[in-house]
């Protein structure tokens, strides 16, 4: 419960500031103590894109915690909350809420207005708004809200503010309670906040006893302002007065009354405080929504005749503008604004508020409540705020008017009187409602506020709608309010009655007297007042009267004939200047021919002389016959002349009067004009000054922004440098120390702190305080030396367990003054120890290695013959337990007798000739067995060349020796097997150029081993001449490509017989990956081959037989065709007789010839095809050269067709050159023949696919349809008619056969050139010796 009370009693202080606000804030916050039951929210304008340091800056000054506002936080007492940049802050449910800032250009961020408005609404009386230094007017609107909600507003005094824009704007609203310098504001907080804001506690119990004070105050106010507040609700008055008491810090009500009595300013403040009301655009928008249908109804019913609206108590005008917007919308929007017959009266008693309303300019925050769609058309947004559109403004008249005291406006269609009645006591409420009833036209509407009712005036208004906020005027009672002032002294009923009766009797008597007097003097006359109103009529004035068109009023113009009314007006003016005189004029009667009327006027005053007297005129008419103004001869009669002269004089007088009046008004206009001009000039001057000030302000603002940015950047740099330095110091491994000139340590690395067991906090200890580890020299002299010498001083600190380098360098500032020294300790102790340990490890490792490798060591002192043997050596000798004592001779004794001499010789040779000492020998084990040892050694010689010492190794190679022996046995076995199987093996060392043949290889060659120095060249010569090319190619390929190879070839043995051998070859590669050697076998397969060959021939024959049969049919068809044709023609010629004429005969003969040529072609092609066989020699063929030859051979064809033949680089292949030439000739020939109408283009390309080459011959002809690409390779297949392209249809079958002979394949597909592409695949590894079937 306590908590609750505390929470609700917590004062919320909003502090708004802009330019120059930082200093003011510092001054203010530094004075604040934590004991205040208040929380502070700082709203300081800041550039949205900058990171703000405001919180840090303020926390240095403030004694209470300063934190940044977090969204949704509930502020605590005794804390300062700073709004972060680029956010607006508001209060919602007693929590601070961050919002994105308004996107209006003129709106400062964060918005003080916005915050203050929410603060006022949420916190009410406990809100305090403080405006500090700043330009612009942000906050001025907010203080009004706080004030209206009962809060206190404080403003920094303009003198103390660096920029007084915001303070003075706030002061100008008249809603500021206190004005102080910032520090004073803080000092007064205690008084303002902690004072119980309850008048009952300020004054003695028993409110009634203080009625006198209230009455006194009300009287004071009425004297000062003319407004009587006695009928205002007591509670409202009391609350407002309490606020002022708190604001001025008065101790009691009496004290405050005294203060007010002596201070007109305070009375002004109190007055505006009492009148302040909460107003805003579209306040309680839901209620406006319910009003809208009635507005539309009003517009549709009365829109034509014009609508009048009255907003009493309009304050700063928002409500009036809201209604104007709504009506405007109902009339059809701003576009129709100019023609809308709308008149709005906004009235208030507060002139200051009215001034704001008239200006029509509001801060951005005020527009928050306006529906978005209305802002753009009805407001113009500018730097100075948001101004109501001129058209809208023109619809409203703002004027000072006291609803309680002044007469109401009349013929009003709608009165909006919201949140005004609540301030009045019921009695006054009823009176005001009566007035409004009087002012409203019949059926007019009354719109009241949310918490208001029309109690006591239910007979005057009928509610419409559910909400009972809108009422329609009831027409029951008479319109006139019983009294126009509820405040004046009102006489009792009886008094009124008797007074009126007496007055009326007297008046009636006087009127009768006047009537009889007038009638006697001027029987037909009028009494008219100065304005031309007819007050009384005597006799008959009908000849002069007529009802004029339009509204009927009792004026001359309305009731008299125009000529008379005009004349009488002139007379009135003349008579005014000559009171007491009678003036007259005679004029013709138009209605009655021959009659004249003389109009006389007499001016008299009603009542006594003075202000109350009224000027009245008696106008009398006298009709008489026309006097003959001129006689029959046309001469004017005397009477006529006199009348005319009178008339002329009157006219003159009238003219003179007009002239004078014109002059007067002219002068007035001139004066007014001059006044306006001067005002205008003043305004212009002010404007210029303002512009200049604005520019200055802008430029200074820019400068400040720049400086701020620079500062920001350098702060960041400093920060990062500092951070770097700290992280270096904490992480650098070497101890590092910085001292100043007094040898006090300013900085130390963490390593140094550990080393010297010292911690430097805020204190800067002297160097001598360091606890030096053992072995370190005193540091002070070293530092002093470095600083006084100005040079680097380096000391080495070494001992058995210590190796430290100390470097002390003086450091200088820019002026080259020594400002201190930097010391670095490079500790090498660890490295020293490491080296020692490494040496030990290395020795141990060597021992282990020697033991592990089972290598014995020996050391011979040559001169003494003393010999040292290592453990392993002793183990070999079986002497491990006993040890070996003795010299070289003792060792030699253990060497196998047959090796002993060799051992001794090797030693001598090494000692004397320095030949390398290395030999294998047997040595005797203790158990009598011998082991094979490989002994190596190296002697050292003295200056004379005498050996001094010899050290060596002894490796037990007994097992190796055993393996070698077994290997040699196996080899022998293998050779035997080879001999039996007629398989020989050979080896060719590429690097050495050395060839080794096994005995069986010699045997296969018909030679005895050693009969020939073998070499690859010699080997080739043994092969059949036809096979040599192939053999060479195979060997070369294996050598070059490192691929295993295999072939079968005929071999001429030494005895001349021929053998068929199979050669297989493997490849050895050296460490560099190159082929280092070839090795393989040579097998005599003569016997095997003969059997296999027979079997294959049989199979071939069967296949070829079937093929031949098919071939026979095809052949017979194509061969038979020309033959048949020849026979046919020959028969016709021979037996045709008369049926064949000579021309036909010749034609037939020619055809016979052609067919026989064709037959010849076919036979030739067949021959060529059959000649293709597998036995042609294979050699490396340069395809490029062959291609060119083939193209040349087709020279004439190429020329005829204007063919263009190109080729890329073509490879060298193992093939037959004749075949290749034919292949290319056929393909090129085809390409030209089928290559299209104009200039065939032929291109040959080669592609290496890895295992094979693919040669392409492409053309740009018509190509080969896909379904025919295979059939074109069949015999006698042609795509074209015989007449078109020559050929026997054998070309492509021949090509296919040639390619297949080489183990390749040929096929046809599409070419990139657009025609056909013939592709030939030549495998690199084709087994030429055994071509595919």
């Amino acid at each position: 419960m306590d908590e609750e009370i505390r929470l609700n009693d917590l004062a919320w202080v909003g502090i708004g500031a802009s330019a120059g606000g930082l200093d003011a804030l510092r001054a203010l916050l530094s004075k604040l103590g934590s004991e205040l039951p208040a929380t502070f929210v700082v709203v300081q304008h800041m550039a949205p894109q900058h990171r703000s340091l405001l919180t840090e800056l303020l926390s240095r000054e403030a004694k209470i915690p300063v934190v940044e506002v977090r969204d949704g936080c509930a502020p605590l007492a005794g804390h300062v909350y700073v709004t972060p940049p680029n956010h607006d802050v508001i209060v919602e449910n007693r929590r601070l809420k961050l919002l994105p800032p308004s996107d209006q250009p003129a709106s400062p961020k964060p918005s003080v207005d916005r915050f203050f408005r929410s603060l006022g609404r949420e916190i009410g009386e406990h809100a305090v708004g403080v405006i500090l230094s700043g330009t612009g007017s942000d906050g001025a609107y907010g203080v009004q809200e706080i004030r209206a909600c009962g809060g206190i507003t404080i403003v920094q005094s303009e003198g103390s503010a660096q920029y007084s824009g915001m303070p003075s704007a706030a002061i100008d609203t008249g809603c500021v309670d206190l004005i102080f310098p910032p520090d004073k504001i803080a000092e007064n907080f205690a008084g303002i906040i902690s004072r119980p804001r309850n008048l009952e506690s300020l004054i003695d119990p028993g409110i009634n006893s203080h009625d006198d004070e209230f009455a006194g105050l009300c009287r004071l106010l009425e004297e000062h302002t003319g407004v009587d507040f006695r009928q205002y609700k007591t509670n409202t008055l009391r609350r407002r007065i309490e606020r002022r008491i708190a604001a001025v810090g008065a101790a009691s009500l009496e004290g405050y009354v005294d203060t007010a009595r002596g201070s007109k300013t305070e009375l002004d403040s109190l007055f505006s405080d009492l009148l302040i009301s909460v107003t805003s655009f579209f306040r309680d928008q839901r209620e406006f929504d319910t009003l809208v249908p009635y507005i539309q109804q009003l517009v549709s019913e009365r829109g034509n005749s014009g609508i009048r609206i009255w907003v009493p108590g309009c304050a700063t005008g928002e409500e009036a503008y809201t209604l104007a917007i709504l009506f405007c919308e109902a009339f059809g929007g701003i576009g129709r604004m100019m023609d809308i017959p709308l008149q709005i009266f906004g009235t208030d008693v507060d002139e200051r508020a009215l001034a704001v309303a008239r200006r029509g300019t509001y801060p951005p925050a005020a527009l928050d409540d306006i529906p978005e769609s209305y802002v753009e058309p009805y407001f113009s947004v500018s730097q100075n705020g948001n101004t109501v559109s001129k058209w809208l403004r023109d619809k409203i008249v703002f004027s000072r008017h006291n609803l309680c005291q002044n007469p109401p406006f009349r013929n009003i269609d709608l009165v909006s009187c919201r949140n005004l009645l609540i301030y009045f006591r019921p009695e006054l409420q009823r009176q005001v409602l009566q007035r409004l009833h009087f002012g409203l036209s019949d059926g007019g509407l009354l719109f009241v506020g949310r918490s208001e009712s029309i109690t006591g005036a239910e007979d005057l208004f009928r509610p419409i709608g559910q909400a009972r906020r809108i009422f329609r005027r009831a027409s029951a009672l008479s319109g006139r309010p019983q009294t126009l002032s509820g405040f004046q002294y009102r006489p009792t009923h009886r008094q009124i009655k008797s007074a009126i009766a007496a007055e009326k009797r007297e008046e009636r008597r006087r009127i009768r007297m006047l009537d009889s007097l007038v009638k006697s003097v001027a029987p037909h006359s009028l009494i008219v007042d100065e304005s031309g109103y007819i007050r009384r009529v005597y006799g008959d004035v009908s000849p002069f009267s007529a009802m004029a068109e339009g509204d009927v009023r009792t004026t001359l113009g309305s009731l008299l004939l125009p000529e008379f009314s005009q004349q009488i007006r002139n007379l009135i003016r003349i008579a005014l200047r000559s009171p007491g005189q009678k003036r007259a004029v005679t004029m013709q009667m138009r209605r009655e021919e021959g009659k004249q009327v003389t109009i006389s006027i007499f001016h008299f005053e009603d009542g006594e002389e003075g202000a109350d007297s009224e000027k009245l005129f008696v106008v009398s008419f006298e009709i008489h016959d026309v006097e003959a103004a001129e006689d029959r001869d046309g001469n004017l009669s005397g009477e006529g002349i006199a009348a005319l002269e009178r008339e002329l004089e009157l006219t003159r007088e009238n003219l003179q009067l007009n002239i004078e009046e014109l002059e007067t008004s002219n002068e007035e206009m001139q004066a007014l004009n001059e006044e306006l001009q001067s005002t205008n000039e003043e305004l212009q001057a002010t404007n210029e000054e303002l512009e200049t000030a604005n520019e200055e302000l802008q430029s200074s603002n820019e400068e400040l922004t720049t400086v701020n940015q620079e500062l920001h950047v350098s702060t960041q740099e400093l920060d990062s440098v500092n951070h770097d330095l700290n992280s270096i110091l904490s992480h650098v491994a070497s101890p590092l120390m910085v001292v100043d000139t007094n040898l006090q340590i300013t900085r130390m690395s963490e390593a140094a702190k550990r080393l010297f067991d010292i911690d430097i906090g805020a204190a800067q200890p002297h160097v001598s305080v360091c606890r030096l580890p053992d072995g370190y020299p005193p540091l002070t002299p070293i530092f002093s030396a470095a600083m006084s010498g100005g040079t680097l001083v380096e000391r080495q600190i070494t001992s058995d367990t210590l190796s430290v380098t100390l470097r002390v360098a003086p450091y200088v500032n820019r002026q080259r003054e020594v400002k201190g020294a930097v010391a670095v300790f490079s500790d090498n102790t660890a490295r020293l120890l490491e080296t020692q340990r490494a040496l030990r490890t290395s020795e141990e490792r060597f021992d282990l290695a020697v033991k592990g490798a089972r290598i014995g060591l020996w050391d011979l002192d040559v001169s003494s013959g003393r010999l040292f043997l290592s453990e392993v050596y002793l183990e070999v000798l079986g002497l491990l337990g006993d040890g070996f004592r003795g010299g070289l001779e003792d060792l030699l004794e253990r060497v196998h007798p047959s090796d002993r001499a060799r051992f001794r010789d090797a030693l001598d040779a090494h000692f004397s000739e320095r030949e390398p000492l290395q030999l294998e020998h047997r040595i005797r084990h203790l158990d009598g067995t011998y082991r094979w040892i490989e002994t190596r050694g190296q002697a050292s010689w003295d200056a004379d060349g005498k050996p001094v010492r010899c050290v060596g190794s002894a490796d037990d190679v007994t097992e190796r020796k055993a393996i070698e022996r077994r290997l040699s046995e196996r080899t022998k076995l293998m050779l035997l097997a080879q001999e039996v199987a007629k398989v020989g093996h050979w080896h060719y060392d590429v690097a050495q150029g050395e060839t080794v043949w096994s005995a069986q290889v010699y045997a296969i060659h018909g030679m005895t081993p050693g009969g020939l120095a073998p070499s690859p060249e010699a080997s080739v010569r043994f092969f059949h001449p036809d096979d040599r090319a192939m053999v060479t190619a195979k060997i070369r390929r294996s050598l070059k490509q490192g691929a295993p190879g295999e072939f079968t070839a005929r071999l001429s043995r030494a005895d001349g017989t021929e053998a068929l051998v199979q050669w297989r070859c493997m490849v050895e590669r050296g460490e560099d990956g190159e082929v280092s050697a070839l090795f393989g076998v040579l097998i005599d397969v003569t016997d095997m081959h003969q059997t296999a060959e027979l079997r294959r021939a049989l199979k071939d024959l069967a296949t070829s037989n079937a093929e031949l049969e098919r071939f026979g049919y095809v052949c017979s068809h194509d061969l038979r065709e020309p033959v048949r044709t020849i026979a046919g023609f020959a028969e016709l010629i021979l037996h045709g007789g008369n049926h064949v004429n000579p021309q036909e005969r010749e034609d037939y003969l020619r055809r016979i010839l052609k067919n026989s040529d064709r037959l010849m072609d076919i036979i030739n092609a067949l021959m060529a095809f059959s000649r293709l066989d597998a036995t042609v020699p294979i050699e490396p063929v340069d395809l490029a050269r062959i291609f060119d030859d083939a193209a040349d051979a087709l020279g004439s064809l190429v020329e005829t067709h204007k063919a263009k033949i190109t080729r890329e680089t073509l490879p060298v292949l193992d093939a037959n050159s004749t075949h290749m030439r034919q292949l290319f000739q056929n393909l090129i020939g085809n390409a030209i023949k089928y290559g299209g109408e104009t200039s065939p283009e032929i291109r040959a390309t080669a592609q290496d696919t890895g295992p094979a080459w693919v040669i392409s011959i492409e053309d740009n002809g018509q190509g080969v349809p896909e379904e025919q690409r295979e059939s074109i390779f069949s015999l006698f297949n042609r795509l074209h008619r015989k007449g078109e392209v020559e050929g026997a249809g054998m070309g492509l079958p021949i090509c296919r056969k040639i390619v297949r002979l080489c183990g390749g394949e040929i096929w046809c597909d599409e070419s990139a050139l657009g025609g056909a592409a013939f592709r030939i695949r030549f495998p690199k590894e084709a087994d030429l010796a055994a071509p595919p079937d």
Binding site: Y1113, H1117, E1121, R1124, G1128, L1132, G1136, R1151, P1265
Partner: protein, 146 residues
């Protein structure tokens, strides 16, 4: 009313053969016109253009450049513009495989070159619906009413 004359179209790449056949017909007094076309495409084009009337019988050579007579037969079997036209092969080949292929491709007759009176008689025998009719010195090929 005599049955109407039969029109024959020959598709053969060898002009000489047709020349000889026509001369032979002339000598034998056979009044059977032979429309010669080098390819199926040429025949179709001519019929479509109206240069040639649609034939009653199409005789196709077996070995045509780039294609085979059997393929032509298959095409004719499916072509609506040649509906009801009798078709078969006349070739110099006596390969039994060719004969089997031709029948499989829908040949209604299989003749061996040369195309002469004997061949025409064989055609009549194989088709059955046509006959060689001798009228005075002239012999014509006419449809036989079913």
């Amino acid at each position: 009313m005599q049955p109407r004359p039969i029109k024959i179209a020959v598709i053969d790449d060898n002009e000489d053969e047709i020349l000889i056949s026509r001369h032979r017909f002339r000598m034998s007094g056979i009044e059977v016109p032979l429309d010669h076309h080098l390819s199926l495409a040429q025949l179709e084009r001519s019929v479509a253009d109206g240069r040639v009337e649609c034939p009653d019988i199409v005789i196709v050579d077996m070995h045509l450049p780039g294609t085979r007579g059997t393929d032509v037969l298959r095409h004719l079997r499916g072509a609506t513009s040649f509906k009801g036209v009798r078709r078969g092969i006349c070739t110099g080949s006596n390969d039994p495989a060719d004969r089997a292929d031709a029948l499989a491709a829908g040949a209604e007759f299989y003749l061996t070159k040369p195309l002469d009176r004997a061949a025409l008689e064989l055609l009549c025998t194989q088709l059955g619906s046509v006959a060689l009719v001798t009228e005075g010195a002239e012999t014509r090929l006419r449809g036989v009413p079913a």
